[in-house]
């Protein structure tokens, strides 16, 4: 069971209202697509929910427990893991060591030796086993994104936030990745996925939430939501401008 709700989250950066009263929920077992134009607050929402940022106001509740002010390391221990949109690997460690870090912490911490062994499996899962002992400087962007994924999975989350792990892939790789996300989901992990590619979102998501300028403008069935006029203007209009 994983039941995450958040109410009235506000986060300002100077004058920028990155989150301007965002409420919503993540239900157990779903794949929630989180979409919105650039700068609409998707990553900020993930940052706040994962404890990376502290919200200016609002509440986050997991399984009935208020986790708003919990430090981030407690939040991942409770089962919320995330990837970073711009990969942030530990730069002086090898790929394997990167993945072994979350295995040493959390609810069932392993010793460094055990963690290394277990980390190998997660690298295999994302197809990076050949890079296990390489410094992360030898990985390209896609591989770094997969490393982010392996690292988040290694924390054995109940809810996994994926911040544009698929962006920038070629069509074949995208299909492969969609399959991978499905497999993760099938293993019982609830997923919140941020993605700009409409094809990806509609084929994966069981529900979609649309953000625009820090506010939720739509929430519901994928097919219906993407046809709402306000979503089309906010989302596609902005995309068209920026292109």
């Amino acid at each position: 069971m994983a039941d995450l709700r958040f109410e009235d989250l506000v986060k300002h950066f100077g004058g920028v209202h990155a989150l301007d009263g965002v409420s919503g929920h993540v239900d157990d077992g779903e794949i929630l697509g989180l979409v919105g134009p650039n700068g609409s607050g998707k990553s900020t929402l993930i940052n706040v929910l994962s404890g990376h940022y502290e919200a200016d106001s609002g509440r986050v509740v997991l399984d009935g427990e208020d986790i708003t002010d919990r430090p981030a390391h407690r939040i991942i221990e409770m089962g919320l893991a995330r990837t970073y949109q711009i990969p942030r690997p530990f730069s002086t460690m090898t790929a394997l060591e990167n993945v072994s870090v979350p295995l040493m912490f959390g609810a069932e911490p392993k010793s460094p030796g055990e963690a290394r062994e277990a980390a190998r499996e997660w690298l295999e899962f994302v197809g990076l086993e050949a890079y296990a002992d390489e410094p992360i400087t030898s990985l390209n962007l896609h591989q770094l994104k997969y490393l982010e994924l392996a690292r988040a999975l290694a924390a054995r989350p109940r809810i996994l936030f994926l911040d544009e792990v698929l962006s920038g892939l070629n069509p074949a790789e995208v299909n492969e990745s969609i399959e991978m996300v499905r497999r993760i989901h099938d293993s019982g992990i609830t997923i919140v996925i941020v993605e700009h590619l409409v094809r990806v979102v509609t084929s994966l998501a069981t529900r979609i939430m649309v953000l625009d300028r820090g506010k939720v403008i739509a929430d519901g069935d994928p097919g219906e939501v993407m046809r709402l006029p306000e979503v089309v203007t906010a989302y596609l209009g902005k995309r068209a401008q920026s292109a």
């Binding site: 650039n38 994962s50 404890g51 990376h52 430090p71 981030a72 390391h73 939040i75 991942i76 221990e77 995330r82 970073y84 949109q85 711009i86 990969p87 942030r88 530990f90 730069s91 002086t92 460690m93 060591e97 072994s100 870090v101 979350p102 040493m104 912490f105 959390g106 911490p109 010793s111 460094p112 030796g113 963690a115 290394r116 410094p135 400087t137 030898s138 990985l139 390209n140 962007l141 770094l144 690292r151 924390a155 544009e164 962006s167 920038g168 700009h196 995309r239």
Partner: protein, 382 residues
């Protein structure tokens, strides 16, 4: 090494047992007492540098506070044993604990900050030694500006003559420090600290209890520094504020660790040996004035040119290092005067260090790709 966590401590203990009998050898062979005191001073610096590295090298938080922690230990012994008549051994531990209290207090104030934690920590530790000096000066119970004579401290006979005892106490603290660092390096604490050094926010979101780990590491660092300071007090005949709370100790440990390398427990050990041997010989040659200039210049050179430190560099190129050491030995014989084994050691180390530094052989790894800039474009391009 990382797969066999017991290996390092085991080797350290074996070496320690062998060294325990070194004073007997010195005695039997009729070598000068200086050989014991020199070795003690190396142990002292190994302890201090290892202790500094445990927190700063592993976590990346830069500390200038080593002198303050050390000074608390020195004064703990001076005040408690000399003025209050406490027994010696418990006071060593108390010295360490008092230093820990200071370290944890600084951590408590600074680590709660959101931004610039690292910078402010560095500056706080830079200022704190001077403040402690002021406190000691104000308080007649501590110092009152008079200094404390330490030559009359009663010492146990069990460890041999005074120089032998100093040597053995130094050995014990050094072994303790090195083993602690070895254990930490291969533990969850160590990996937590490494991840903090690389990216503290990410470490925290991956489950590393960053605040607690920093506090634990800082507590250990300051404990070891204070303990070593308390032991070192026995080696000093008169302690004064100016000689304790100055910039000397932090300067030396920073140089030693950076020179040897901060990523591995061996770095500070090697750095302490090299730096102390060199500066001892420079001072003996009457070059004290230039020795500080050399120290400063070396620090700058290491940061600019050899960031990984000597130990990893030597490990990467054992051959040039060995050749350098051999040349050093030979140069010692040719150049002389080899009045002392320490001079010989200095030549050998100098040769090895220069050998390792020579820019031949494997160049730095080419950086494949440029993930950082690529990333931003990719992301913006959606």
């Amino acid at each position: 090494m990382r797969q066999r966590p017991w290996l390092g401590p085991a080797v350290t203990l074996v070496v320690a047992v062998a060294l325990w009998f070194y004073p007997n050898l010195v005695d039997a062979a009729g070598w000068p007492i200086f050989y014991l005191l020199f070795a003690y001073t190396v142990f002292f610096w190994v302890t201090q540098a290892s202790s500094w590295n445990l927190f700063t090298g592993f976590s990346g938080y830069f500390s200038f506070g080593q002198g303050a922690f050390y000074g608390v230990g020195v004064y703990a012994l001076g005040v408690l044993v000399v003025k209050r008549g406490w027994p010696l051994l418990p006071t060593f531990v108390v010295g360490g604990l008092l230093a820990s209290v200071l370290g944890l207090f600084i951590g408590l104030v600074v680590f709660r900050l959101r931004r610039l934690r690292g910078e402010i920590f560095a500056l706080m530790t830079l200022a704190v030694a001077f403040v402690l000096g002021a406190v000691a000066r104000i308080s007649p119970t501590i110092d009152g500006g008079q200094g404390i004579p330490l030559s009359s401290v009663p010492t146990p006979d069990a460890l041999g003559t005074h120089p032998q005892m100093i040597f053995r106490l130094g050995l014990i603290t050094a072994v303790l420090a090195v083993v602690v660092v070895q254990v930490v390096q291969n533990s969850r604490l160590g990996w937590g600290l490494f991840s903090i050094r690389d990216d503290e926010d990410v470490a925290e979101t991956l489950g590393v209890p960053t605040f607690r780990f920093k506090m634990i590491a800082l507590g250990l660092t300051s404990f070891l520094a204070g303990l070593s300071g308390a032991v070192h007090a026995l080696q000093v005949s008169y302690v004064t504020i100016e000689e304790v709370f100055n910039i000397r100790v932090p300067l030396m440990v920073i140089l030693m660790s950076i020179l040897g390398g901060t990523r591995h427990w061996m770095g500070p050990v090697l750095g302490a040996l090299v730096v102390h041997t060199m500066s001892d010989r420079l001072n003996r040659a009457g070059l004290e004035a230039v020795s500080d200039i050399i120290v400063g210049a070396l620090l700058i050179l290491m940061i600019v040119a050899i960031k990984e430190g000597l130990y990893l560099r030597m490990r990467e190129r054992p051959l040039v290092t060995a050749i350098g050491a051999a040349v050093g030995v030979a140069a010692g014989f040719v150049l002389g005067p080899l009045d002392s084994a320490v001079t010989h050691l200095a030549y050998t180390l100098l040769g090895a260090v220069l050998g390792a530094m020579v820019p031949v052989g494997r160049r730095r790894r080419p950086q494949s790709g440029a993930p950082a800039t690529q990333t931003i474009e990719e992301v913006v391009g959606g």
